[in-house]
């Protein structure tokens, strides 16, 4: 095939592929051999993660929490009960993620935030183990490794919380093709008299800054001066 485009492209060397092919799949394809204990992970966490994510992964005033919202029962069922409670406000990482591979892969490629790809394989194992431990998923003496990771994954509180029963994957093999929401294009006398059910409260009028300064100064409209109360 490559003779169709002479002079363009060349084979990658094995070392090049090794340098960049870092992804880890849910079936652990791509996971490098290695291990890290919860205890070792705690050291990494406190040195390199806690400043942003909080000592207990509960986040500080700035960042969303990684840990919380899951129960021992969730670890058994693989469904996070709080997700079924529409009044529960937050959603931590551990409430959502169903695969340890995802955490391992992401921490390895992107964390710590200001120094991504600086952790050793052992540090990634350890700090992932510590995260799971904070979430009550693995015990204090757990050692996460390429051997034990499947076991850990089988305890993820939201492991049964994903569905692909939808029409929004634009290929085969996942979901189906019938859109879930079906509307009709009625043209007249369609809906009852419209009633406004939600709008911005007056106190939020200027929350996004003065809209007079966010609209063009010419045209069919001006921006509302939201530094003034409406109608003023």
């Amino acid at each position: 095939q490559s003779t169709a485009y002479p002079g363009v492209g060349r084979p990658a060397t094995p070392k090049e592929v090794a340098a960049w092919d870092i992804d880890v799949r849910p079936d652990f394809k791509g996971l490098p051999k290695g291990s890290g204990s919860v205890a070792k992970g705690q050291d990494v966490w406190e040195a390199k993660c806690a400043s942003c994510h909080g000592v207990f992964g509960e986040a500080n005033e700035v960042f969303s929490p990684l840990v919380g919202g899951t129960t021992a029962d969730d670890v058994k069922t693989g469904r996070v009960a709080k997700l079924m409670d529409p009044t529960f406000p937050g959603r931590t990482t551990l409430m959502k993620v169903s695969t340890v591979s995802t955490l391992w892969d992401y921490i390895n490629r992107a964390m710590p935030w200001t120094a991504p790809k600086s952790l050793t394989t052992e540090e990634v194992y350890g700090v992932t183990a510590y995260l799971l431990n904070m979430g009550g998923i693995v015990p204090d003496n757990f050692v996460l490794s390429d051997k034990t990771i499947a076991e850990a994954q089988a305890r993820m509180p939201n492991r049964n919380g994903m569905t692909t029963d939808h029409a929004m994957w634009p290929g085969k093999g996942i979901g189906h093709n019938k859109p879930d929401v079906q509307a009709k294009a009625c043209m007249s006398d369609c809906a009852p008299e419209a009633k406004v059910g939600s709008f911005l409260p007056a106190f939020a009028r200027n929350n996004h800054g003065n809209l007079a300064e966010q609209n063009r100064l010419v045209g069919p409209q001006r921006g509302a001066d939201t530094t003034q109360p409406e109608g003023a």
Binding site: A4, P26, S64, S98, S198, F199, L217, P220, R222
Partner: protein, 406 residues
């Protein structure tokens, strides 16, 4: 009064002083050519900017800026106003050092993993196509209730450009990919987040997916992935991997952070939908829209944008009575697959309250649903893929408000 000040157009006395007294620019010598080798907008357009939504994100490097749809015309988004979504900040990467690698999740999935320089990629057969890119979380703040005031914040995570690049199929062919087994493709970026997303091989085989270096006639902007990004028409923006450094073909999806922690849609039953990629048919009126004040009663051109991740827009209907009655709008050509389509329709405003909506239909026959319809199926906690019909309330004062109907 809330009424904005319209340009004076007086007829008192002899006429408008802006006509009777010649302006300076009619009576003097202007500026030379190449005052700017690369020009910029008028100083009177300074309000037309992309903006962050206050409080939406916790950092400005894993964040979003919204395109000012209320001030845009046609379908091309000026590259300087293209919405931004970064996961670990943006970079201006030296293209002479950038490389694209293609490999397999195991060696048996292709004959030869390959490396391409930018020089080489730009020598290959290229395509130029107009496509929209929309963040999967666009309009996400509005799932539960009205949360933001203007169309910039409700719908501004969408832009449309003419992209130029090389069909990914050509590159995979050069590597000898086994299309029978390799049904999934992973795109990976070179930034700190090294964003990874799974794309179905069907979209590569159709010839639709390409690796782009060009955007609106010039190279991609750094904020949009210079020098190389993946273009995945119809699919949410997060899959259009920026700073693209690697493509892997595989036999299974990858369950990456943005496929397993984010960009998963929480349903009423507490399940998350995973691998929701398609951006379904949607539209929004941009003029008039929330936070604007109409100058006067009388004639207006209602204008807006429609799009579908499944193909071409077939029709757009507009209501000015909150969805009771609808009229079909004019579509501006060209109507292109998985691109924005501009619509326009006449309206004479009588000064009474009016609720303006638009409803798009795509070539598959899919009709954009109301909030009642999307919420009935999906609840209000999905964050992603809110393509419900938008309502703008024009009040007697002329001030327009973002509202949702009950």
């Amino acid at each position: 009064a809330a009424t904005a000040r319209a340009q004076s157009n007086p007829v008192s006395g002899d006429g408008d002083p802006n006509i009777l007294t010649l302006p300076e620019h009619s009576k003097g010598l202007g500026q030379p050519v190449v005052t700017d080798g690369y020009g910029k907008p008028s100083k009177y357009e300074a309000n037309v900017q992309r903006r962050q939504s206050p409080g939406l994100t916790q950092t400005a490097q894993a964040s979003v800026s919204f395109a000012p749809l209320q001030s845009l015309f046609g379908i091309v988004t000026p590259s300087g106003l293209h919405f931004e979504r970064h996961h670990q900040g943006w970079w201006d990467i030296d293209p002479s050092k950038h490389r694209l690698m293609i490999n397999g999740s195991d060696a048996s999935l292709l004959k030869t993993p390959k490396v391409f320089t930018m020089d080489e990629l730009m020598r290959l057969p290229s395509v130029s196509r107009f496509h929209f890119i929309e963040c999967g979380a666009n309009t996400g703040m509005e799932w539960g209730n009205v949360a933001v005031p203007t169309v910039q914040y409700t719908h501004g995570m969408i832009s449309c450009s003419e992209f130029t690049g090389v069909p990914l199929k050509i590159l995979l062919d050069m590597c000898g990919v086994d299309y029978k087994r390799a049904r999934f493709v992973l795109g990976e970026g070179a930034d700190g987040s090294s964003m990874t997303r799974t794309v179905p091989m069907e979209l590569i085989e159709s010839g639709e997916v390409f690796v782009a270096y060009g955007q609106n006639g010039e190279m991609l902007r750094p904020e949009n992935g210079y020098p190389l990004r993946l273009v995945v028409p119809g699919v949410q923006g997060v899959s259009w991997v920026k700073y693209l450094r690697r493509i892997e073909v595989g036999d299974k999806p990858y369950g990456t952070k943005d496929e397993a922690v984010h960009y998963i849609d929480l349903m009423k039953d507490g399940l998350h939908r995973q691998y929701t990629s398609t951006q379904e048919c949607k539209s929004v009126v941009t003029t008039p829209s929330g936070g604007q004040v109409l100058l006067d009663k009388g004639f207006y051109n209602i204008s807006g944008l429609a799009w579908s991740g499944k193909g071409k827009i077939k029709r757009v209907d507009v209501s000015v009575d909150g969805g009771r009655n609808w009229r079909t709008a004019r579509l501006e050509g060209p109507v292109m697959s998985k691109a924005l389509t501009r619509f326009n329709i006449d309206w004479s405003w009588d000064g009474k309250p009016a609720i303006i909506q638009s409803r798009a239909m795509d070539e598959t026959g899919y009709v954009q649903p109301s909030y009642q319809q999307t919420r009935a199926v999906r609840g209000t906690r999905s964050i992603y893929h809110n393509n419900s019909i938008q309502s703008w309330l024009v009040q007697e004062s002329g001030e327009v408000k973002n509202v949702q109907l009950s």
